[in-house]
Amino acid sequence: MAVVGIPILENLYPVTMDMWPLEAKEFNRIWQFYENLKQGRFTTTKCKDCGKVAYPPRVICPECYSENLEYIDLPKRGKVIVFSEEVRGVPLGFEAPLIHAVIDLGVEPVRRLLSRIINCPAGYLKEGDEVQLVVFQIPSHPIEKGKQGTIMAERVFFAFEPVKKP
């Protein structure tokens, strides 16, 4: 006998509880950032009117409110300023060791970018180490598209990894 309640969610993907961003064009006007990530590019928006580069990307310039923005490439390599390593009690969705680092990508506004460091065992990373961008697939989620039925939105996300392999 079926129990009425949460089992109604069986086989359904609760997208509104997703740990990852909703990146699809249908739900996000900065979808270009994620499309660029899929090409291995780490980008953000620059205002064509006043020149302000903002991170994360926007749909308006936070300086002059212009909508006349373009995507520019950010450096994909940087240096570790400070880092932390979490070995126990890592939250659901992430694996131990969960390493976080403040990274200097050498240009504003990403002189102190906070990122996860992956492909790196506990105890390996040092301050001053070089790290580089890694792009990886994350789970697709369904979008109801009316008569077309339900499509799956493919997604990627990013972290950084040591340049010198462990």
Binding site: M19, V82, S84, E86, P91, L98, H100, V102, R112, L114
Partner: protein
């Protein structure tokens, strides 16, 4: 004559791991609040501000204010709303209530905050933490739970200013020992330096007692004007002299300081709060600073101007935050020992400062006439300060 806001009364329920629903906790807190002022009745309250952040996720309830109003038997006519500024929610509610009563929009406002964070499965509350930072950027980097961020902060404070693990431990020892006789605190444990130094690791250099626990709880207080308050009480009036709430960033990449131990946004908040209250840091006799982590209190005493930048570790570990020290801080146990049900914390802090200024605190600071509360919220995204005094701003 100008209407001047005061905090009239307040109370909280027992904080900790509670076998109770969110709305139960609010009812217990409201009862404790009215017990603190027996002349005031629920029918006298014309406004309600509810501070809660996790009700949407952990209790599956948004639009919380009508739910709480009904359960508390309140029938607000001037304001009935909710605010969500996570760890600063209670203080935000007090700032809003001050503005409303001073503007004449409301007369007697209850500010009530609370959270139910122990869910039937622990992973649900941890998972929900991904929403408490900038979800798409810092949350997606696994920064939901705050210990890694404050571990980075502690490492930078150690690097720039030579702060030691012992300094962090002494904050925990001091605050835990303030709470030993506080019956509504989550932790009532006499903590020794040795225990704090040998505690299990969380995220190095932070260990168990450096981090505030996860807490169920609620608190409530009454904000009104001095003239109205006099009809209900003979206690000394406690005025809300000045406030500030500063936000300069959300995503951690845009942190406003030179490094994570440089809290420029708190300095700006402090300057504004002191100016609006017409006091100086040296006038503060007792304070409640946001000790979500031991390192936070160390940086807060610096940026609030109680000591020089970089000397917060020595200030705390040399007993300046104890009774008899320069500025006794978190005299009821703070977040570290009382616990931290986000929306309730600012109200707990306000209640302790009110009691200190009325001379009825458990660990009383002699002749306390000016007190301060402070919250940081999110991934150090916002700073909130309220300054209370026995006299109004003239």
């Amino acid at each position: 004559m100008a209407r001047r806001a005061v905090i009239l009364a307040g109370g909280q329920c027992k904080w900790g791991v509670r076998e109770a629903h969110l709305v139960d906790l609010f009812q217990e807190a409201a009862k404790a609040c009215f017990e603190d002022i027996p002349t005031l009745k629920p029918k006298d309250v014309d406004g309600l501000i509810v501070a809660t952040s996790y009700s949407g996720r952990c209790s599956f309830q948004v639009n919380t204010a009508p739910v709480i109003a009904e359960r508390l038997g309140l029938k607000p006519t001037s304001i009935c709303t909710r605010c969500d500024t996570l760890c600063a929610g209670g203080s935000t509610g007090i700032i809003l209530a001050k503005g409303l009563v001073e503007a004449g929009v409301a007369d007697i406002v209850m500010v009530a905050g609370g959270e139910k964070l122990y869910t039937p499965q622990k992973w649900e509350v941890f998972y929900s933490e991904l929403a408490s930072v900038d979800h798409d950027w810092d949350g997606a980097q696994g920064m939901g739970l705050p210990p890694p961020f404050f571990a980075l902060t502690a490492k930078e404070h150690m690097k720039y200013y030579g702060t030691k693990k012992e300094d962090l431990a002494m904050v925990s020892v001091t605050n835990y020992n303030y709470a030993v006789d506080n019956p509504v605190a989550q932790m009532q444990k006499a903590l020794t330096l040795e225990e704090a130094m040998n505690a299990p690791e969380v995220v190095p250099p932070l260990t168990l007692y450096d981090c505030c626990p996860i807490t169920d709880g609620a608190a409530a207080c009454i904000i009104t004007t001095d003239e109205i308050a006099k009809k209900f009480t003979d206690r000394p009036l406690v005025y809300i002299r000045g406030t500030a709430q500063v936000c300069l960033n959300s995503v951690t990449a845009n942190f406003p300081g030179e490094h994570l131990a440089d809290w420029k946004h708190l300095r700006i908040a402090a300057e504004k709060a002191y100016k609006s209250a017409k006091v100086a840091p040296s006038d503060i006799k007792v304070a409640q600073t946001h000790d979500c982590f031991s390192i936070s209190e160390i940086i807060e005493v610096e940026e609030l101007g109680f000591c020089k930048k970089g000397e917060g570790g020595a200030f705390c570990s040399s007993g300046q935050i104890k009774i008899g020290g320069k500025v006794p801080i978190n005299t009821d146990g703070g977040l570290l020992a009382c616990g931290h049900p986000f929306g309730a914390t600012g109200i707990r802090q306000a209640i302790e400062i009110m009691k200190q200024l009325q001379g009825r605190a458990r660990h009383q600071v002699k002749d306390a006439d000016i007190g301060l509360t402070h919250n940081l919220s999110g991934a150090n995204a916002e700073h909130t300060i309220i300054i209370y005094g026995r006299e109004p701003v003239k």
